[in-house]
């Protein structure tokens, strides 16, 4: 008997790819930390990192230590956590919506976070002074998280009406909410003072330039929770590919998985938008590349996308801060320039399958 269908293209072994990506990430981080107008050789970077860790590595140049520890390291670490968080958020969202084209920036989740963040920046001091005093550095990430969560919930509700998730409704609802949120940001920037305005522009394009250690202490735990807890959802997300009914038949608590996915996505996107603004397409490109190379198993896709997303963003940021030096390109513009065409190719190739 003959069988139809395409043999699965040769897949790379998932665990080997994960190890390779982890090594690549370490390499890229060391190179990126040393890269810039003030260069530090990779070996010196390693020595300074070792001396930070309390190891005795002989004398290190105090100027290099200062640049690395107060400017480069927080910035590269933010790139790592933002890349990993956005990629995992994208993979989670694609698993939830059962479609490889879902992405937090495309369906308005990032703009929802940006609107909430803008609200806190412009009106926070007058409207909620008490709250900012209690929450301190956490106010912005938490507000952005709530904004992102609200948009995700609304988009999901509209897209999943009647127990069936329709991607066109999801995308259209996302477009509408995106426009609304951006209108809100626009209105707020109209009200904003000059200094607030500079803060706001940074949100719409995305930049890792604001990275500081105190900001990292607020953002890293939130994004890390999303990355780690998200990876625990791998098996149920695999099963969800069967559709909600059949996933329930094999024992998946679909409602709990959906809730967890929505909250974790909003947590990652919200906290990262608060720290770095809207950075698009990492969540689309990284999971897709891993799926192409290793197949759609989320146990590989989630950690793989996290590592690849981190590599991509560290690389993109190194490019963004040197390509037009001494000025700096907003990283969101860079990722959109690279990611937009990628998305269009994806869309053309899959047009038949998504019912558009």
């Amino acid at each position: 008997m003959t069988a139809s269908g395409v043999a699965a293209p040769r897949r790379l072994p998932g665990r080997a790819v994960l190890v390779g990506l982890a090594l690549l990430l370490v390499t890229v981080v060391v190179l990126a930390v040393g890269h810039g107008s003030f260069r530090v050789a990779p070996l010196d970077v390693l020595r300074i990192l070792a001396s930070n860790a309390g190891l005795d590595v002989g004398s290190v140049d105090p100027r290099q230590v200062a640049v690395l520890n107060s400017i480069r390291l927080p910035r590269v670490l933010l790139a790592v956590i933002a890349g990993a968080g956005l990629a995992v958020a994208g993979a989670l969202m694609q698993g939830l919506f059962r479609n490889p084209l879902a992405d937090p920036t495309l369906i308005g989740v990032s703009s929802g976070g940006a609107l909430a963040a803008a609200f806190v920046i412009v009106l926070g001091a007058t409207w909620l002074p008490g709250i900012s005093k209690v929450l301190g550095a956490w106010t912005l990430p938490l507000a952005a998280f709530l904004g992102a969560l609200a948009v995700t919930l609304v988009v999901y509700r509209i897209g999943a009406a009647g127990g069936f998730l329709s991607l066109p409704s999801v995308l259209l609802a996302g477009i509408a909410l995106n426009a609304l949120a951006m209108a809100g940001v626009g209105l707020l920037s109209y009200l904003a003072s000059d200094e607030q305005l500079r803060n706001l522009t940074f949100w719409s394009f995305g930049s890792l330039g604001g990275a500081t250690w105190s900001m990292l202490t607020a953002v890293v735990p939130l994004a890390l929770v999303a990355v780690v807890a998200g990876s625990l959802l791998a098996r149920p997300l695999n099963a969800l590919a069967l559709g909600e009914t059949q996933a329930t038949h094999i024992g998946v608590d679909v409602l709990a998985v959906k809730r967890a996915t929505i909250v974790l996505t909003a947590l990652a996107v919200g906290s990262l938008v608060a720290a770095a603004g809207v950075i698009g397409f990492v969540g689309l490109v990284a999971p897709h590349a891993i799926r192409l190379a290793c197949g759609p198993d989320h146990r590989i896709v989630l950690p793989g996308a996290a590592l690849l997303g981190a590599v991509l963003l560290v690389f993109a940021d190194a490019l963004a801060r040197t390509v037009v030096a001494p000025a700096e390109l907003p990283i969101g513009i860079l990722t959109a320039t690279l990611g937009g065409p990628f998305f269009l190719v994806l869309l053309l190739r899959r047009r038949g399958q998504i019912g558009l």
Partner: protein
Amino acid sequence: MLEARSVTVRIGMRKLLDDVSLQVAAGEIVAVVGENGAGKSTLLKLLAGDRLPAAARVDGSVWIAGRELVAWSLAERARLRAVLPQRPELAFAFTAREVAAFGRYPVSTRWHDRRDREIVDAALALADATQLADREVTTLSGGEQARVHLATAFAQLWEIEHLQPRFLLLDEPTAALDLAHQHALLVTARAFAARRNIGILAILHDLNLAATYADRVVVLHRGRMLAQGAPGDVLQPATIAAGFGVAAQVLRHPLTGGLLIATAAVDPSA
């Protein structure tokens, strides 16, 4: 025992099911037949514990293995029964082996378990899907996909645990299959179920398949139970005429000696 106790499902004024009671014992095959809209799928959804439309009002209860269905957790239900959906979906390009391995979800939590792999391969072989194992399911034909999803259901119920009665619900399992695979599916499912004390409830459109493979046949008509019993008793010309609106004659099958049901459109001039 899998049991529906005087189940009524209403949407507004319309009754999708009207006071239907049904029992499936471990080890037997029950075929549910009836015209379109008779309530077959609603009954199967109810027995599977699926969500009905929000507007639906349900009276009566469903019992499985001695307890009401809702009293079992989702994980426990998944170890008690498997469901082969009418139109299986799949979102990403998983291979047939990966899809069959989904059947191990409620049973196994280990990533690379050798026993799981052996079970998955055996389930694929049983469903005649071994040669599809490394293909992407999204590129397979409808009938091939049905066989892969059957392998998933086999993998789910593979263990023989304490002779606990378990159940396999098949929603039009033969719809996408060629003739040989229609028979193969029912023969295989029957042998699989008999060895493991599994009761099967199958929605079938082909009365001859029902007559050949079912221990009991249930005829639904406009949400009501029209008849149930042994195929020879239920599949009579009068019942078939009432249930399906076709003329029927019951003959002896020249090859098997079993029932052969010949049907024809009712002559409008008669």
